[in-house]
């Protein structure tokens, strides 16, 4: 008498695998790979952000203008009318002999389309470079947001790019509204630091000036961060930007106000030193995200490349600004396209509800199968239990995420996995009723039912794959559990039950009561 056959051995091995690898997830042990719960089950924040990539292009143009200005100042090369007009830098070189020198400098900047009309230069970005800049902006934004969230100390933040301009941010660690708010503010802060020169000649007219008048002088009007009535007229092209900041820390001034000390890299330090040396007696506006935080008088050349931002921060604000400055500016602002936030209590309710559904669905199918098919039903049920363990184990191994629709997927899989056993047992019953011997009925039952089972599983699998490709978040979770469930059910419901029958065959043959085994009359 042969109790073990290869089918049964594979089945038993897969049950062992299923139990061993599902234990960490089921008992929530500290070690071992576990299924992670989706945001809809454990609570958290999901956001889809859109990067306004055009801004990155605009800011690159601005940087080019800054370089032109710095170069011409440095080389004492006379230019006139340096300004930005609809994504192009325009200026005129005053001395014809300086043109080769200017050309040489401009040729070092990559991705530039230069057009010259006599002495007037128009610098634009090439189409290729615009596309590259936009792409880089998204990559950089992902990097920056990830850095900021990491420093903020949230558990397992996930920041991923989606499509051309979008970013998906998932924060499972968020539990309270206050946390959520802080995280959102941290993400959205552009942290665009600019050091700009105040136009001292015209600043006294700032309150009567329109922005187009200011633009005609190459200036812009900025408001004070604490008092919008105080305005400054500053040169449109900044002296330095936050990209040259290498460190930023919170400190306190004499009156115990929170301030931020920042350190510049070597190029930044040189430019800053040169500028302050030339501008003694004038004011320097410290601009963060388009607001003037302070505009101190330059008393002497500032070497060493460090400076400070003060302006009535609270300590936590200062902390966030410092994090944002350290992790770099967002190359462009982001807007919120989609947001889903689930409180932890709702997640717990969903887990409870779906577990009840899972258990009662299971019980119903169980009882029904035993009443209808007797021992064949018991065998099918063994396969069903094994299937649930194996689904959990496989999901844990791949680190898959379990979502609420995913739970529904497991519940549904129970209904569908039992399908294979129903098809097989019906075939066996038919054959037994036709008077075929049990041994042959089981063999033929399996082989006849195989085609139908494969067809039905493949069609469901096809639908699941399409769902995975086009679904988002929780829906993808459904597609995953249902696909895994279908595949593992082939192992348990077909191979596993067949193995059990094979090893029980001698006993079934001895036992003349087939009603007990297959529920036939």
């Amino acid at each position: 008498m042969k109790i073990f056959n290869y089918r049964l051995i594979i089945f038993v091995l897969s049950i062992i695998f299923g139990i061993v690898f599902s234990i960490p997830s089921l008992l929530q042990t500290d070690t071992g790979k576990k299924i992670s719960l989706g945001l809809d089950l454990q609570g958290g924040l999901h956001m889809l952000l859109g990067v306004n990539t055009q801004e990155a292009v605009t800011s690159k143009i601005k940087t080019i203008a800054t370089s032109v200005k710095y170069f011409s100042d440095d080389e004492e090369l006379l230019i006139d009318g340096l300004s930005i007009e609809s994504d192009a830098v325009v200026f005129t070189v005053l001395d014809k002999d300086e043109i080769p020198k200017m050309d040489e400098m401009l040729n070092q900047i990559k991705g530039l389309a230069i057009s010259k009309d006599d002495l007037k230069y128009t610098l634009k970005l090439t189409a290729e470079d615009i596309a590259k800049t936009k792409d880089l902006a998204v990559v950089q934004a992902v990097e920056t947001i990830r850095n900021r969230l990491d420093q903020f100390g949230l558990s397992e933040p996930s920041v991923l790019r989606q499509g051309e301009t979008d970013i998906v941010v998932e924060l499972p660690g968020i539990k309270t509204a206050a946390d959520e708010k802080a995280a959102r503010e941290l993400i959205s802060k552009p942290a665009n630091l600019e050091l700009m020169a105040v136009d001292e000649e015209r600043n006294d007219q700032v309150n009567t000036m329109t922005s187009s008048q200011a633009a005609s002088y190459g200036n812009i009007i900025l408001e004070d961060t604490n008092n919008p009535n105080i305005k400054y007229l500053v040169k449109e092209i900044p002296i330095l930007t936050g990209s040259q900041v290498i460190d930023a820390q919170v400190a306190f001034d004499q009156s115990n106000q929170a301030i931020i000390n920042f350190t510049l890299n070597s190029t930044g330090a040189r430019i800053f030193g040169d500028f302050t040396a030339k501008s003694v007696g004038k004011r320097l506006a410290v601009v963060l995200d388009g607001k003037v935080y302070s505009a101190p008088n330059i008393r002497e050349r500032i070497g060493g490349g460090s400076g400070q931002i003060s302006g009535g921060f609270t300590v936590s604000e200062a902390g966030n600004v410092a994090i944002a400055l350290r992790s770099g500016a967002l190359p462009a602002t982001v807007t919120l396209l989609e947001k889903r936030s689930v409180g932890p209590s709702l997640g717990a309710d969903s887990i409870k509800a779906s577990t009840i559904a899972l258990v009662s669905g299971f019980a119903l199918v169980f009882v029904f199968m035993i009443i209808y098919y007797r021992r064949a039903g018991v065998i099918a049920n063994i396969a069903l239990i094994a299937n649930v363990f194996i689904i959990i184990a496989v999901m844990a191994m791949f680190g898959a995420t379990l979502t609420l629709p995913g739970m529904a997927g497991i519940v549904l899989t129970i209904g569908m996995a039992v399908d294979a056993n129903v098809i097989i047992t019906e075939r066996i019953r038919e054959l037994i009723n036709e008077g075929v011997s049990v041994t042959k009925a089981i063999e033929d039952g399996y082989s006849n039912a195989m085609r139908a089972i494969l067809d039905s599983n493949i069609t469901t699998l096809l639908a699941a794959v399409i769902l995975y490709a086009y679904g988002t978040g929780p829906i993808k979770g459904f597609a995953i559990t249902i696909s895994i469930g279908i595949l593992t059910s082939m192992l348990t419901a077909i191979l596993g039950t067949h193995g059990i029958y094979e090893s029980l065959l001698p006993r079934i043959n001895k036992d003349k009561n087939l009603r007990k085994w297959f529920g036939v009359k």
Binding site: L462, I466, A469
Partner: protein, 322 residues
């Protein structure tokens, strides 16, 4: 236990016009519903904001409606959600500003209404809604095409066409029910519809598989008789698996909570319609398409003759007699 005798052959085909009539009625009614009442699209597909609030006591819905009239969200729709202490507030439109959050605003607006907890805030921008809608339609269309390709590959073209018609039949009626009961159509409904496509076609395939099998072995030349035999033989299986699946879907429907109600509802209706169509409707299309048993047999015989000839040629070749 046996629900249907495996011996008995039911005469489905003689009543086929009654079933076709019923199906036509259901389809026409569904289409009329879809065209007049339409689908109640949720925020996933049209954009908007949903706020789910749980109170410590019974939610003061009327008071809430009054409160919202005074705010800029005067068009907010407030309804009970699953239990008396829980409500959802639906607002058209969405804010793309990261720093000013709707949840904060809601806290301020709802403050006078009692003790509560904001449990869920879903906000979908109009652009994302449009994209999701587009993707959803593509997914549905693609599934139908993929199923059609698969079935054509496995069966004769009239079988394929009949099964796809049955699939369209099931989807239209399921959507009609979604419209009739004003179920909110979100991404989960799409998932349910796609699952149904897979489920419903596999029921049909199993019946068709048996028809094909019987066509090969039977001496009967009347298609109606072969269909009756095949549908009767698979009747137990079709109803049983539908029943077990229906059991679990019913438990999801009753115990799964309000959030997956729409999903479970769609599956519930879809499984019933899908089972009905694979027993009573799908095979009748074969008769309507004038599928001929005799032609099938001639073709099968030719196929077998060719196979035999090939085998003989091969044998001769291997024996070296060619």
């Amino acid at each position: 236990m046996e629900m249907f005798s495996t011996e008995k052959i039911y005469d489905f085909m003689s009543k086929r016009f009654a079933f076709l009539g019923l199906s036509s009625f259901l389809i026409i009614a569904s289409i009329v519903l879809l065209l007049t009442k339409g689908l109640n699209f949720g925020i996933d597909f049209v954009g908007g904001t949903i706020v789910q609030v749980k109170y410590e006591q019974t939610a003061p819905i009327n008071q809430l409606r009054d409160i919202f009239k005074e705010t800029k969200y005067s068009n907010a729709v407030i309804s009970e959600f699953g239990a008396a202490d829980e409500v959802v507030i639906r607002i058209t439109g969405s804010s793309s500003d990261l720093t000013n959050d709707i949840a904060d605003e809601m806290h301020a607006i709802l403050a006078p209404s009692g003790k509560f907890e904001i449990r869920r805030v879903d906000m979908v921008g109009a652009k994302v809604g449009g994209e999701l809608r587009e993707k959803g339609l593509i997914a549905l269309g693609l599934s139908l095409v993929v199923m059609l390709i698969y079935v054509s590959f496995r069966f004769e073209w009239r079988f394929a066409l009949a099964s796809i018609l049955a699939l369209v039949h099931d989807s239209i009626i399921a959507m009609g029910a979604i419209s009739l009961f004003s179920v909110e159509v979100n991404l989960d409904i799409l998932a349910a519809m796609l699952t149904l496509l897979g489920y419903s076609i596999n029921d049909t395939i199993i019946v068709f598989d048996r028809i094909r099998e019987n066509l090969q072995i039977t001496k009967e030349t009347l298609l109606e008789k072969v269909i009756n035999l095949s549908v009767s033989k698979t009747l137990s299986r079709t109803t049983l698996t539908s029943l077990t699946t229906l059991f679990v879907v019913a438990t999801l429907l009753f115990f799964g909570g309000e959030i997956i109600y729409g999903f479970s509802f769609t599956l519930f209706v879809g499984i019933i319609v899908g089972t009905y169509s694979s027993i009573f409707v799908a095979a009748t299309f074969l008769v309507q398409f004038k599928f001929s048993v005799e032609d099938f047999k001639v073709k099968e015989a030719e196929k077998q003759k060719r196979a035999k000839e090939k085998a003989r040629n091969r044998a001769m070749y291997e024996q070296g007699t060619v």
